[in-house]
């Protein structure tokens, strides 16, 4: 079952599209599920499919096509690091090395306590702030240095 909160949010999105085009809200619906649970399970996709009146396979097609959906459990705070050209030129390799060392995990992994997850991302469209990562696809942190990363990790650790 989708929570009341998610249903309210989906209903707001549905208002953006023609009444007969409920499927247009599928991307947002999956995003809301991930925001609440951290990832999207098969049951969630079935719930979204039922809610929007679309085949479950069509929901899976969307969830598996777009990179930012987590189709397996990730950390409470999942960091997605851009390693594309502008970030690479500005030292994303050091960003990744520092995070890997501090968290003891690689891309696609979660710390044993479930607190942090790490993902590799593609261009985030903020290249002048390279190197960067996003936190749970919400907050973008740019112009990273080792000190800045330590500070961000310490703050997240407290939450």
């Amino acid at each position: 079952m989708l929570s009341d909160q998610i249903q309210t949010k989906i209903n707001r999105e549905l208002g953006k599209y023609p009444a007969e085009q409920k499927q247009s809200a599928v991307m947002a619906a999956l995003r809301f599920v991930q925001d609440e649970k951290g990832w999207i399970a098969d049951e969630d996709m079935a719930d979204v499919a039922a809610y929007l009146g679309m085949p479950q396979m069509a929901v899976f097609e969307v969830a598996s096509f777009y990179h930012m959906y987590n189709l397996k459990p990730m950390g409470k705070h999942t960091l997605t690091v851009c390693t594309n050209i502008s970030c690479m030129l500005c030292g994303s390799a050091e960003t990744v090395a520092h995070l890997t060392k501090r968290l003891g995990i690689g891309f696609g992994e979660v710390t044993p306590d479930g607190k942090f997850g790490l993902r590799e991302g593609e261009c985030m469209g903020a290249c002048v702030d390279a190197p960067m990562f996003t936190i749970n696809n919400k907050k973008l942190c740019g112009r990273l240095t080792s000190e800045k990363i330590d500070q961000i990790l310490a703050e997240l650790d407290k939450q």
């Binding site: 953006k16 991302g121 593609e122 261009c123 469209g125 002048v128």
Partner: protein, 423 residues
């Protein structure tokens, strides 16, 4: 330097509010259109006179594109703003969304009026959630103040705008993939024809324009197309936002007239970092062919000049590389990107991008073979122009550009199994 046009609220502490936008003459162009009952033809003529070309990368004349929309179509038509800014190096639209969202709303309302559209969508790149939230808030603000919705400014004109968030797919920057995505499907580009002007969103006539393109409209209507055109140079009207990233001291977005020398733009970005020597520049986003620094230093930032130099202005994303850059490693990362982002629909792209990446990867890792460079070029020929959308071309062009100018570096990697730059 002239006062900024697209980022004309940037001197305020909160540049994004309606209040501040109104202080700099915001929504006056829309008011003029409605109060003077300007005809759609007159608006389109003004846009044509401005020389405005699509700022997303393709550079198609905007006025001409608008004229393709059917006039007497009964039923819904759509206007879609492409804010799915994912071309590596490009981050100009993000600043319009974050700092001047009302200029985009005003530009879209005028465009909608000119094309007889009542509903618009703004598709925002998934990774910039803060910009999406800013747009959502701005639309709400505009709705409450009567700049969106029914009877806009008290006139018989209706237009509403909704934001749709992407979630990590480069290919959705391609206009028909973007439409599929709004329809709630995976973003696979459609065959053209039919073009979106006849069969677009939900099968209805649709025009898709880039964020910066639409944000340029209020100025063109209030100041006149000619004035906008005159800010730039022949074939490249107006001003443009350039994102300068990579090895510069002061990376950022700079709004300058078209035709500004690259040298000037580089100076605005603080020059090459730490006093290093300029090696290479990708002048228009990662898909455009790379050019050696010495060629770039003689070029101007407009469509014709960059093309004469052997590349394209594209999205205006300038990626600067200094002498420490290994060109094999740079191309390896770019090729990985296109391989990762190919939607898989067309065989030449799905298979070809994988081949490109694996070959450049093995060269970078000391396992290259003598025949690899010719193999890469032959692959490029079999990808470019043989796919539904331009992602195939976008994957091939960087390979061709890097090999054209830096072939010896690749040969060194293959022969010595190590990097020329590091030696």
């Amino acid at each position: 330097m002239n006062a900024p046009i697209l980022l004309n609220t940037s001197h305020f502490e909160q540049p994004w509010t309606l209040e501040n936008y109104l202080k700099v003459g915001g929504y006056q162009a829309l008011r003029k259109v409605l109060a003077e009952k300007m005809s759609p033809d007159a608006i389109i003529a003004e846009v044509k006179a401005s020389g405005l070309r699509g700022r997303g990368g393709a550079g198609f004349p905007t006025g001409l594109k608008w004229s393709f929309m059917p006039r007497n179509y009964e039923g819904e038509k759509y206007l879609v703003c492409n804010s799915d800014e994912g071309e590596p190096g490009t981050c100009k639209d993000r600043d319009i969304l974050r700092y001047n969202p009302h200029m985009l709303i005003e530009g879209m309302a005028i465009a909608a009026y000119a094309m007889g559209v009542k509903t618009g969508y703004n598709y925002v790149h998934g990774e910039i959630f803060e910009a999406y939230e800013r747009m959502e808030a701005a639309c709400e603000e505009a709705r409450k103040a009567g700049y969106l919705g029914k009877n806009i400014l008290g006139f018989d004109f209706e237009f509403d705008l909704h934001n749709h968030m992407g979630y990590g797919a480069y290919v959705c920057g391609e206009e028909t993939a973007l439409l599929e995505s709004i329809e709630g499907k995976k973003g696979q580009p459609r065959f053209k024809p039919p073009f979106p002007a006849s069969f677009g969103l939900y099968g209805k006539p649709t025009t898709i324009n880039n964020t910066e393109t639409l944000a340029s409209i209020p100025y063109i209507i209030s100041q006149g197309g000619k004035k906008f055109a005159d800010l730039g140079v022949l074939n490249s009207g107006g001003i443009k936002l350039f994102s300068v990233s990579g090895h510069v001291n002061n990376p950022g977005n700079f709004e300058v007239p078209m035709g500004t020398p690259f040298k000037t733009l580089l100076e605005m970005a603080g020059g090459v970092r730490n006093g290093h020597k300029l090696k290479a520049v990708i002048p228009g986003g990662s898909s455009m062919p790379v050019l050696p620094g010495e060629i770039m230093m003689d070029l101007n930032m407009d469509y014709d000049s960059i093309q004469k130099g052997g590349s394209y202005l594209g999205s205006g994303a300038v990626i600067v590389m200094d002498e420490t850059t290994c060109m094999v490693r740079a191309l390896e990362r770019l090729s990985y990107f296109y391989f990762e982002e190919s939607c898989g629909q067309c065989t030449p792209c799905r298979e070809g991008t994988g081949w490109l990446y694996r070959i450049v990867h093995r060269i970078e890792n000391g396992e290259g073979r003598a025949e690899d460079l010719d193999l890469l070029l032959s692959l490029c020929e079999n990808i470019a122009g043989r796919t539904i959308c331009a992602l195939g071309d976008a994957a091939a062009w960087p390979v061709q550009g890097f090999l054209k100018h830096y072939r010896s570096e690749f040969e060194y990697h293959i022969e010595h199994k190590r990097c020329l730059v590091k030696d």
